[in-house]
Structure formats: structure tokens, C-alpha cells
Amino acid sequence: MIDLKNLTIEKTHDSFKNGVFTCTELVSEYLKVIKEKNDELNVYLEIFSDVLEQAKKADEKFADGSFTLMTGIPIAIKDNILFQGHIASSGSNILKNYTAVYNSTVVKKLKDAGAVIIGRTNMDDGAMGVSTETSAYGVTKNPHDISRVPGGSSGGSTASIAADMALVALGSDTGGSCRQPAAFCGVVGLKPTYGSVSRYGLISMGSSLDVIGAIGKNISDVKIVFDFIAGQDKMDSTSIPLDFYKKKTIDRPTIGVPRAFISEGVDPRVLLNFEEKIKKLQSLNYTVKDVELPYAKYSVPAYYVVTPAEISANLARLDGMRYGYSAEGGNLMEVYKKSRGKGFGREVRRRILLGTYVLSHGYHDAYYNKANAVRELIINDYSKAFKKVDLILTPTTTGPAFKIGEKVNDPVKMYLEDIFTGPANMAGLPAISIPSGFVEEGEKKLPLGIQFMAPHGREDLLFQIGKEFESIKDGP
């Protein structure tokens, strides 16, 4: 019996090296847990049939000495990340049995490193959602309380870590989709700097916001995964080299808190937890000061103009012509309309139509151009704030995981979930959600997350403060 709960990448690596257990044994252990829990939790849409073969190859790498730190590490990937020869359905019907014809760069890197890619995790349809409830394959249950959502859109990935069904996972983050579910599931979720991880092979949603993120139980594991997947890629012209942004060592980063922005609509228990954590950071001699982000409150409404616009363009390729669900039709136009009408779920249709609207003649100036201008103001807010402080701290979400069914029928309520996470995507900034405690609801303990944001390229600061925060969060 391997103690999965307390495993880390480094412990696992040492165990492989010292012959404590083999990768095949470890992966078999995960497969057992998956068999026990997946029917109820609906974390994985598919466990890849070649998992044990991958494990065997990893064991061979340890035998011949050609291993890396990620060799043999069981990792789950979100259903929108392409793995050649395997299905990637983006949580949707329209790509239900779509088989990836090439490898995403991140998968290629993980394969080269010898990681074991266990399976594809459940997600909101087309990555659009905050609860994994819009998935065409049913919701994923939060392992902390199965009557609640795991968050979204990377709910399957974060739940896989919380339920010890993988050691680390990849998600994607366009408006908060790695961080919000990480907070709900009590795990660490990193949204890297835009461009630092290649988007080649990530099914596009909002091309100016999308980024692949790393999810794990602790900062160290998330950092290791990030280090393996980051880097410029000639296949993604929006990707940047690791040294693109200047990095100056900062021993004791100052922390900014946008108090005015945090006041409204936040669960008082979240605010209490947040204030406690600020005091703890101050007791460690971190300077915490107030910062102003006057335009941050427009982030969500502007996001819901810009993102649907980009979605409407990106999803035009899903037309029943070359792959995916293709409906019968009398003529070409009918095939388009019926394939897309039937293949897209409700939230996806909503966003495509909203995007079509804000880009259409007569409206694009008032909406799309305006939203882009507001986006510039938000970027400017953060740029100014980062001249005064080194990090910005907020709660990750306004409350703990909500009940399944509670918000799914109210689009605006769902969209407001992105209030603290959205700005990082609008500005391309790196941000991380770290477990920050629990609230009690009935007999359950529901996780809370706290979010640090850093200037472009400063994931290193997030890891630095993250490690410090991890060591204090449960202390007196």
C-alpha cells in the first residue's frame, strides 16, 4: 500500500530511485483508487488504455539511468489538451469522439520527460463555465462534499488531485479556470504568465487569454510541472522565451491588497479567513499595504464581451465538415446549422451568440472596442500597482464551493465567480491559488483559496511567497 495522500513529486522520484516502489506499482495504486472513486466523482472521462505501458517505459528509464524528475509521475490532463491518438472532446458533444491528430507541445514535453499521462479529466463544455456543470458528460463532484461543485472549468483536474486520483494535473485558465476550482478543491492551481506555456494543442477558447496551468497538492509540485512545460515554442507565435521579462531578486516582496475591490459580495467567512492570513504574513515581517485598482470592477463585464467575441471566432471551425459531430442536412448550410445547433451545449451557444452580437455591425464599437479599451485601463491599473507593490493578494473566490444546481441557471451569477480571477487573464499576469483554510458547512469542511498575483514573468515570486505561505497557513 502506497501512501498516496502524502506523496509529492520529489518523494515519488526518490522512491523510484531507491527502489521503494516502481512506477508500475504506483500507477496500479492510482488505478485502484480511480476504479473505486470515479463512478461517483466523475473526475475522468477516460483512463488511457496505454497507461501501464507508459509506466513500464518509465521503469525502464530508471533502470537505464535516463530518467528526469518528471519520469513516472502520474499526471492527469484536461480534456481540451491534445494527446495524439487519444480522444480530446473539450467536455463537449461536438467533439465527442474526436481523436487528436497531433500532440500538444505540453504533452510532447511531458512524454519526452517520461511522465505517465493517466487520462483526460472532465471539464465545462468548451471550457466555458465555473462549475463543470456545463460538461456534456455530467458534473464532477467535489471530493470534499459530493453535493457541491468542484469549480470549473478545470473541475476534473482539481478534483483528481483532491481525491488522490493523480499526483499532478494540467488545466487551462482563461478567466480563472485553474484557480477557482483549485480553491474549491483545496489544491494549488497556477495560472502562468500569458505566453509562457505554449498553447499549441490546447483547444482554443479565448486566444488572447488562454493559458495552460499546473495543478497539484503543493507549491513545489506545481513549480516542477511549470518548469517542465514552460518555454517558447515556434508552433505558438504568442509564446515567449523564459527570460522575456526582467526578474530582480526580491527578498521580502511587499504585498498589495485592493481593499475597495474586495468588500462587496464576499462571504464574511472568506473575509475573516483573508484577514487572518494577512495578519500572519505581517507577523512574518511582510509589508501589506492597500492598493487601488479602480477599473478592476469592470473586469468581469469587459471579459464577457472580449471572451465571447474570441470564442465566436475560435469555434467557427467546429462546423461538421472535417471532424467532430456532423449532422445530416439537405445542403451545406443545413449541415453547418444542425451540427452546431445539436453539437454545442447551452452555455457554448450563449457565448457564441453573445460574441456574434458584440462583433456585429452597429454594436462592435459600443461593446467590443469599448471592452478592449476597458481592458487597457485594467492592464494599466495593475501596471501602476506593481510599481508600488511586488505582489497583489485577494481571496480566490467570494465563497466556498456552491451546491450543484445552485448557479447553473443564472449566467450572470456564474460570471461573477470570475471576479477575483478574471483580471489576471485580462492583463496576462501570472496568478496562483493556494489553499488557505476551511469553512464548516454542516458536517463538511469546505476549502478556501487565497490568490497571489505577480508582475509578468514573476512565477518565481509566486512560488517564493507560496512556499512561505504553505508553512504558516495552519500555524497558530
Binding site: Y102, R322, L353
Partner: protein
């Protein structure tokens, strides 16, 4: 907004909607547009971005990529002689 607007958008987006779906979308859109409208109140003025956007080009050279032609063909809804077959365009 009204149903006719929803129908125009659906036409532009090439999405077929049932009557019920059209009504639902209309209701949703009204709610969402009501929310995003607040960006109208932001006065933008002249803002010089601190960064400059630039295009990233590559030479127009043939470079073999790794992908499975076989898997591509297998997933065509209809094919003939190795070509993708679609309905009449003209």
C-alpha cells in the same frame, strides 16, 4: 432585443435553434447584456499603452510537422479517393 434579433445572430453564427431555445437565449441575452452594459459608463479618453504589439513572422518555408494524416482522413464525415467530400458549395 427581440426574437428576430436572436434569429439574425443564429443565422450569422450558423446555429440552428428550436423555438424554445430561441426564447431561452433571448432571456439570457437580456440578462447578460444588462450586466455588461456597465462598461458604457467608463470614460476611456486617451491612454497610451506601455507596450507595443508586434507581429511574429516566420519564413514561408515548407517544414515537415508531426501529425497523423491517417487519423485526419479517418475522421472526415465523408471522403472519396482520399479527399474530403462536402455538400455542393456553388
Amino acid at each position: 432585443m427581440n426574437i428576430k434579433d436572436v434569429e439574425s445572430l443564429a443565422e450569422l453564427a450558423r446555429i440552428e435553434l428550436s423555438e424554445g431555445e430561441k426564447k431561452e437565449i433571448l432571456k439570457d441575452m437580456e440578462s447578460i447584456l444588462g450586466y455588461i452594459k456597465q462598461i458604457e459608463e467608463v470614460s476611456v479618453g486617451d491612454l497610451e499603452p506601455e507596450y507595443q504589439l508586434k507581429n511574429v513572422w516566420r519564413e514561408d518555408e515548407l517544414k515537415p510537422q508531426e501529425f497523423s494524416r491517417d487519423l485526419i482522413l479517418k475522421q472526415f464525415p465523408d471522403l472519396q479517393d482520399g479527399f474530403l467530400k462536402v455538400k455542393k458549395i456553388l
